[in-house]
Symmetry: C2
Subunit: 375 residues, 2 copies
Amino acid sequence: MTQYKVPVLPGDGIGPEIIAEGRKVIDAAGERFGFDVEWIEYPHGADHYLETGELISEETLKELSGYPAIYLGSIGDPRIAPGVLEKGILLTARFYFDQYINLRPIKLLEGVWTPIKDKTSKDIDFVVVRENTEDFYIGIGGRAKKGASKDLLEVKRTLYSAKFGLDIETDSEEIGYQIGLISKEGTKRVIEYAFDLAENRKKHVSSVDKANVLSDIYGFWREEFNAVAEKHPGFTTDFNFVDAITMWFVKNPEWFDVVVTPNMFGDIITDLGAMIQGGLGLAPGGNINPKGTSMFEPIHGSAPKYKGQNKVNPIATIWAGAMLIEQLGEKEASDTIVNAIQKNILDGKVKTYDMGGKNTTSDVGDDITRIIKGE
Amino acid sequence: MTQYKVPVLPGDGIGPEIIAEGRKVIDAAGERFGFDVEWIEYPHGADHYLETGELISEETLKELSGYPAIYLGSIGDPRIAPGVLEKGILLTARFYFDQYINLRPIKLLEGVWTPIKDKTSKDIDFVVVRENTEDFYIGIGGRAKKGASKDLLEVKRTLYSAKFGLDIETDSEEIGYQIGLISKEGTKRVIEYAFDLAENRKKHVSSVDKANVLSDIYGFWREEFNAVAEKHPGFTTDFNFVDAITMWFVKNPEWFDVVVTPNMFGDIITDLGAMIQGGLGLAPGGNINPKGTSMFEPIHGSAPKYKGQNKVNPIATIWAGAMLIEQLGEKEASDTIVNAIQKNILDGKVKTYDMGGKNTTSDVGDDITRIIKGE
Ligand SMILES: CC(C)[C@H](C(=O)O)[C@@H](O)C(=O)O
Ligand SMILES: CC(C)[C@H](C(=O)O)[C@@H](O)C(=O)O
């Protein structure tokens, strides 16, 4: 019996409910495929923050870095200002563990309703590889207030007027700014990962940018993409402006195989991707560091208004769990979980409200468990 | 007979073909409603750039600033690197004339096919007000190359490591970065415009941001939004993260009335908006400075592969022409053009390939002209 230890952060809102189902399903897969998971619970999230003032400590992060994979529920609470928990826990973990790949399968399972006309599960089946540690997510920005940061305001004013001949009045204007930054190494490694992934798929890699406007940062991205592409002669590639790709996701999703994107644009297009694959209840994500600590989560939020109601769809979380055990090396068990999800949906008898059903969160977890056990 | 002078920049690719139809339709509306437009042609675009090296000169811009409205075809050519023409002409004009509003009606006309299931023209009818002169469009960014801009790299490295305790190796990494900036006045005026617009609609204003991650720039945006909202007690408002709003555009477009958004996110979500309203062939846009020089254009690009084929849909450009004459004060003529577009579509006999027809660009222009003349 192989033994794994997996830290689990159920988090806020519906997090604990969906994570319970994910654990149940992985435990069942373990029984069938001969492995056992010891779950190590961590309390981090809104309550813990309100009680102790701690988001997540350096010490905890160090401890977590001893494990190959973390299971995450969802983070976010209406009692706390937007960004505090997300940045303080979720983004901190992505950066700390250098999880430079955010992997998001956009796959319409058979039998799932998509809001897009004339598309079936054959048409919607691609993967988005989102860069996960750079770009506009680095958290560098600020404000220039009247009087306060005069120097900075001066710098901006000079830059601004040098470019446009516009005058920003130091006394009447205040400014908010943000800096995005990508590095050569950081860009290269994620694009290489995308090509590696496409190797076993259709060998088609689509890049996303806005190099016609944010030319400095994304012109750089484009050059790195070209450099990596040159080393992969058998592949087809294309460039997509981020505005245009939102159209193609809706109109021609069958075009895509592997999509690689800078962080912020990846955030946007994967939510759209989740919608075309049937909604957030069905969209898993992995934050991956192939040689370090990865972290798996549903891509939806903590849905505070459904908390404690045993109502929401656990499939995204269960699917994220399948990605987690694949990362641990349990490929067969992982496939079995995904197939069980597919079977649950095709059976169509046990489903939550978002899929037009009346069952509970745990009913769905139980049904998928039953399928895995072959009962 | 009222006389107007309107500068027209047909631009590249299909630009001249679609602009010809737009002019034809406006001329017909002028005949019926008692005004006459003198069109003043400008050659700016790819050919002009390749021949003369000029994008658009300060002198030309000054000259154009004497007019209330410009009619623009489309800019962009595969012979020239992405961004050169777009930034050198289109964005330069938006900035030079301080066209701080980019107005994009997302309206599914009756009889138009949308890729979204179960939605009709009653469900898809809102307006996006995109800020148009700030944010990540200000063109400030750069690179830090090994050896070259050492100082800058040093600054970034300090910022980066101060925030994350990460070390960027000065010798092994190169960096591309971009700065976005919004000002208090620039944010306030566009949000106020959105509220003014909603006054005569459903008094519902939705704001777009990503304040949970790009907190410095968009936290600032949010505060300004709240400040303006407070002065409008009879309105309903909501905040939408940009990733989430792409989902709602597809799933619940009927939710929206007026959406106000920073520049870059506006670029992305209005392309998605164009798709749900039936495609780029049907999506007009206005770059507006209420007290200065505005500029109207289809939101699609120059579609080089269709150039000279008399094939593409001129409706977006004709609709943009209707917005243009509304700006000139010809509200009735403007409404008549939009109604004529609607009638052409409902008749369903004369339509271009993108709408499932076999007619030419000029057939469609002719048909809409005929409807306006009441023939
Ligand atoms: C919660 C938020 C910080 C996060 C992000 O922006 O990355 C989320 O939207 C996601 O996509 O995982
Ligand atoms: C062509 C490009 C510079 C432009 C933009 O990014 O604004 C276009 O996409 C638009 O939306 O008008």
